[in-house]
Symmetry: C2
Subunit: 333 residues, 2 copies
């Protein structure tokens, strides 16, 4: 390995650090817990220690740079975190400057959903395309837009917040201040909330049993009931798919991209929500209707000129690879 980059994915639970070479091969990976409760100084200290440890092993190779994906909206002009629900107390903290100070080198900070989009564009589901958008269905719904192989940041680095596309103007209140954002219907959090609502409504006996049996009742449990055909669970994923279809309609009509990638933990429930998503898209989006591949989800090269809506390929590594890609792009390699 002659040259490599460090990618970091700083999540609310896991802190992952990797050394990745220019071909996209993962040379080393370190996974630490993110000690959010011990405060940001501890988390940043752990991260910088981990980065230094990895770098020390590759002293013969050329370090192209360090990219860090972080949950929250980053003001690119100041390097401040604007909002970061998963990192309480980090808002308005000069996280970028602090990391650079501790490491004594330039670091590229990026929103985690943007990093994931770049990772899928570099090595994943959208690797054959220059332009793509990604929705990451996790605790919230993150988004990233890649145009010409680069993250589209917009004016202040706040672009790509597709999770806050309005799908129901009078719908469920969202933490962002709006109502009816797609995040309120298609995130893992929303799936659990809709399950709780169904249980409270008294019409979801299987969901009730599953929730009672499992203290960590999750979107995955709802999905497992849905694939077994439980009506209440099926209906929840129909709502997930419908919300995604409405959000994608606005995106597809506005941007006419060749590919939209859906990732994040809750995208594992693809089989349960995709039929309603594609149905909604076909009915609503004239651009999709004019460009839909014969088989939904198909993005093979023979379908050029078609719109692919497809699952992510890199799983939870997308953000790690995307973060490592950032310094490579900056270095022009």
């Amino acid at each position: 390995m002659s040259s490599y980059a460090i990618g970091v994915d700083l999540g609310g639970t896991n802190l992952r650090i990797a050394a990745v070479d220019q071909s996209g091969a993962l040379r080393e990976r370190v996974t630490l817990g993110t000690q959010v409760k011990l405060g940001r100084d501890r988390v940043i200290g752990d991260m910088c220690d981990g980065i230094r440890r990895v770098i020390s092993k590759y002293q013969d190779a050329h370090l192209l740079g360090i990219g860090v994906g972080i949950p929250g909206i980053i003001d690119m002009s100041t390097g401040m975190l604007r909002e970061s629900p998963n990192l309480p107390g980090w808002a308005d903290y000069p996280v970028h400057a602090e990391i650079e100070r501790q490491l004594g080198t330039r670091v590229i900070l990026e929103n985690d959903a943007n990093s994931a989009a770049l990772g899928e564009n570099w090595l994943g589901a959208a690797r054959e395309f220059d332009d793509m958008a990604m929705l990451t269905l996790g605790t919230g719904v993150g988004g990233g837009l890649v145009l010409g192989g680069r993250i589209w940041h917009g004016m202040n680095g706040m672009a790509g917040e597709f999770g806050h596309t309005v799908v129901d103007p009078e719908g469920v209140p969202c933490g962002c201040g709006s109502r009816g954002c797609v995040e309120q219907y298609a995130s893992a959090t929303a799936i659990v909330r809709m399950a709780s609502e169904a249980i409270a409504g008294g019409s979801a006996p299987s969901l009730r049993r599953a929730a009672n049996d499992d203290p960590e009742f999750s979107a995955k449990a709802v999905y497992e009931l849905a694939i077994q055909g439980d009506a209440a669970a099926v209906e929840i994923f129909r709502r997930v798919g419908r919300a995604l279809g409405i959000a994608l309609t606005s995106l597809v009509n506005g941007l006419n991209l060749p590919i939209y990638v859906i990732g994040g933990g809750a995208s594992s429930a693809w089989d349960a929500f995709a039929p309603a998503m594609f149905e909604e898209l076909r009915q609503r989006s004239m651009v999709y209707a004019a460009t839909a591949p014969r088989h939904a989800g198909d993005q093979s090269a023979s379908d050029s000129g078609k719109t692919a809506i497809t699952r992510a390929l890199l799983g939870s590594d997308a953000g790690l690879f995307g973060a490592a890609r950032l310094p490579m792009i900056a270095a022009g390699v």
Copy 2:
């Protein structure tokens, strides 16, 4: 004038042809009626005759090229019109090839709303910006996206259809096949429809009188009542503003552009709909809330890093100037 371009704005009512120099100065303008009822061959023939007449007057100057803005979705790969409600019978006709055949020279065909966006970017409200989006409130709601000074076409030339951003998933059916598109609340057509609904509901005596007195009752008449304080008319423009605010929320959160321009005939009612639009945006869009200028609509240079939502400046000439700009961009001047 050493060199110039021809811009054509082919509307459902007027066919306008202009000679524009590189500085954006309009050297000549010809306005003809669009004889839609006499068929597309007649309209294309009239247009080509008009273009030849203008060119013949400038034989000493260098013609950079010809740009034609046309209502409808153009498949850029084939030059076919996909949909064009204002030009019945033109769909799936090789309009691009036919114009080039008649003129014996290369012509750049563009969607009219994209041309208008480019015009406002070149010489109008967004002239200080590289990136901008435009909504054109006319018979429908057109949209155009300009990134890096060029129209963002997307994969097939269908991008920028912001008029079909979903603002109410169970709302008014739209000609595009969806429901609740912003076009159904913010176009001139929608304003007249909402007025008719209010009249039919029996709660709009002034609107009823205005409609009875005026066989060509229009959005302008509704606006005139609104600025006089008529409650039913005020409520209609509140709905216009609210729909625009919801659509802009999804756009601003997704793209984080420095400026969004609102043009088209119905944008003359700015005073009536803008307050509700800005109120909705401030409440709903976290990106707008973080970047709103102190004074709504302000886009002065001192407000760099702020999001401007502002009125178009070029009126009905935006599309004509934008069409003339197309061959200049292609020629790299």
